[in-house]
């Protein structure tokens, strides 16, 4: 098992405790996390990414107990092993496209994937030197995917990556994630409530608000 999450629980301050289903995933596999808005599926993703600490349960990635790592070690582990695609691209506006990806190499202290090749594969190499402010929504999303892949992660987490895309782009993005994840042998977890995605990934778990 590459990724394992057992009996996770989390409580936002002043709210009820959420209980999450267990997750088991092998390298090269894809998994959808489904659920209604507010059901806590993004929270689960954050816990899997080590961005939030659960009040109970554990996350094990590639034999390392993520939930027991802290501070700088956790940041470093995340930087080296996890790539995250956020709901919105959230690119660093002060930097051009290419340097947005160089950031990943710098902070993860890892060579990762060749940036030019990655940009070419995602069809945005001609934008490498452009300001991220000049990108279209689809292009920005692809850059953010490239950013998640740049450190050759073992786990790719995507949070509603298609919510603002049209049908065609949605299919492209999911296809892209699947192909790239398979190429580098990473596990892929996609949080979504988008039925269009379900057609492409069969394996799923559902988060229900208790």
């Amino acid at each position: 098992m590459l990724l394992e999450a057992n009996s996770l629980k989390y409580a936002h301050s002043g709210q009820k405790v959420m209980t999450f289903p267990d997750v088991k995933l092998d390298a090269g596999e894809a998994l959808l996390i489904l659920g209604k808005s507010g059901s806590g599926k993004t929270t689960l993703l954050n816990i899997l990414a080590g961005l939030l600490a659960p009040i109970q349960g554990e996350v094990i990635l590639d034999g390392v107990k993520l939930t027991s790592l802290q501070g700088q070690k956790l940041d470093m582990f995340r930087g080296k092993n996890i790539g995250i695609v956020f709901q919105k691209p959230h690119l660093v506006a002060a930097l051009p496209v290419r340097q947005n990806l160089e950031l990943v190499h710098f902070f993860s202290k890892k060579k990762g994937q060749d940036i030019d090749q990655l940009l070419t594969e995602l069809g945005i190499h001609h934008k490498a030197k452009s300001s991220v402010l000049t990108l279209s929504e689809g292009e920005a999303q692809r850059v953010s995917i490239a950013r998640a892949l740049a450190n050759s992660p073992k786990l790719i987490l995507a949070d509603e990556p298609t919510s603002s895309l049209d049908d065609e782009n949605t299919e492209n993005v999911i296809q892209l994630l699947k192909v790239q994840a398979a190429k580098i042998g990473a596990a892929l977890v996609i949080v979504t409530h988008d039925h269009r995605v379900k057609n492409q990934v069969s394996n799923y778990i559902e988060v229900k608000s208790a």
Binding site: T43, N46, D75, I84, F86, H90, A94, L103
Partner: protein
């Protein structure tokens, strides 16, 4: 890619806000730089020019004016004193040495100072070319005079009456350049030095041409030229002759006429003189005595108000700049919380983000400091450029002081202080909360 580069990119991403803050800071620091440079060089120069002069004795008037005119050669002289009286003073047992000065003429605004060779010795001059003056109307010119007027060894020129340009010319007898001094960075650079006799004779001719019959028989007292003793009766030739007699190299020149000098620079024989001499001169004679160190400290006291006002202004500017930097960092941080969260998500540690914000503040203030120091020096350079011959013109705008490193340190301090709160808030940013806030 490194933190420096990222910080720099963020700064240049907002050129207007960054530029404004850098400029504000630079202005404040520029004022401080200028003050620092002027204060340092002024005091140094003032002390250097007055070194070896314990007391200045001249006509009654403002003591500060007396010092300014006869030590620094910037103000008008207070008037003349009788040479006889000055000579009597020089024989006082409390006096070690006197150097008489005869002022009153200029060439293109450079003052002609009639004195003796002791004056050259006082300032420890050295010659680029030529020798000290030996006969009347030979002059030695300072390096700055030589450079600006283009006078060379052997060149002749006529002086103008008064100490500023534009008065009537003494065109009856030309001065001849006999020596050019090497630059010393003191007042001598801006002077034309000659014998007291030259100054006298210039004015003799201007005022009463037929005076030659009564001209001194000083030649008899000069052992080297005893054949001159019988030329007194020769009338016409006598007039020519006195121009070729050697001039006094030390002490007062010899004259049988009632002559005047402008001031006397005086050295004490012992500390006792500092107490007794000034009182004796001021109450017992028609002359006044003024101490350069006392008058200059009085002047600095007077200027002090203006200097503290400027300092205050500079500090206010720096504080405003510091506040500006703080607000800029803090505001940009609000917009950047997403960025910071993203950086954390891709592996940046809290410490790295803290460092990033501090680096931005430091880079901003460092650029401000460098710009400020550059601006200060350039401003001084402009100031020196437009002021031709007063004391400001002798300030070197491109000398760099150790204290300027303190300006940089001070600016960086402002940067650190302005970054503390933004950096701390960056340190505290919760990634998950930021990213899910949509």
């Amino acid at each position: 890619m490194n933190l420096f580069k990222i910080g720099w990119k963020y700064l240049t991403f907002r050129p207007l806000s960054t530029g404004l803050n850098v400029f504000l800071l630079a202005l404040g620091l520029a004022i401080i730089t200028v003050l620092l440079l002027i204060q340092d060089q002024f005091e140094k120069k003032m002390n250097q020019d007055a070194a070896g002069i314990d007391l200045v004795v001249g006509a009654k008037g403002s003591p500060l004016q007396l010092i300014l005119s006869s030590v620094y050669h910037i103000d008008f002289p207070t008037g003349n004193i009788k040479m006889e009286e000055a000579q009597r003073l020089s024989k006082n047992r409390l006096v070690k040495k006197v150097i008489p000065l005869a002022l009153g003429d200029n060439f293109q605004g450079y003052r002609i100072v009639g004195t003796n060779h002791d004056y050259l010795e006082l300032y420890g001059v050295s010659f680029t070319s030529g020798n000290p003056w030996a006969v009347p109307f030979e002059v030695v010119i300072g390096s700055e005079v030589a450079a600006k007027s283009g006078l060379k060894l052997g060149d002749e020129f006529t002086s103008s009456h008064g100490i500023s340009v534009g008065s009537h010319d003494h065109d009856l007898h030309n001065f001849v350049v006999s020596g050019i001094l090497s630059p010393r960075g003191n007042v001598v650079d801006r002077l034309i030095l000659t014998s007291i006799e030259s100054v006298w004779y210039t004015h003799d001719e201007g005022e009463s041409a037929p005076e030659e019959t009564s001209i001194d028989s000083l030649a008899s007292k000069e052992p080297t030229i005893d054949h001159q003793a019988d030329t007194t009766a020769l009338g016409e030739t006598d007039h020519e002759a006195k121009f070729h007699l050697p001039v006094a190299k030390t002490g007062f020149p010899i004259s049988d006429q009632e002559r005047e000098v402008t001031t006397v620079l005086l050295q004490f024989r012992n500390p006792m003189a500092a107490i007794q001499l000034p009182r004796m001169i001021n109450s017992g004679t028609s002359m006044q005595a003024a101490s350069p160190s006392f008058e200059m400290s009085r002047l600095f006291e007077l200027l002090g108000v203006g200097i503290s006002l400027l300092q205050g202004l500079a500090i206010v500017l720096i504080l405003v700049a510091g506040l500006g930097i703080f607000i800029a960092l803090y505001n940009s941080l609000k917009e950047r919380k997403y960025d910071l969260a993203i950086l954390r998500a891709i592996g940046a540690s809290r410490m790295q983000l803290l460092t990033l914000i501090f680096l931005e503040g430091l880079m901003l203030t460092f650029v401000g400091a460098v710009l400020g120091i550059g601006l200060g020096h350039s401003f001084l350079w402009l100031l020196v450029g437009v002021s031709e011959q007063n004391i400001v013109s002798s300030i070197q705008p491109w000398i760099f002081l150790k204290q300027e490193l303190w300006i940089v340190a001070y600016a960086l301090g402002v940067g650190v202080v302005a970054s503390i709160i933004p950096a701390w808030s960056a340190y505290q940013t919760s990634i998950a909360k930021q990213l899910t806030k949509a």
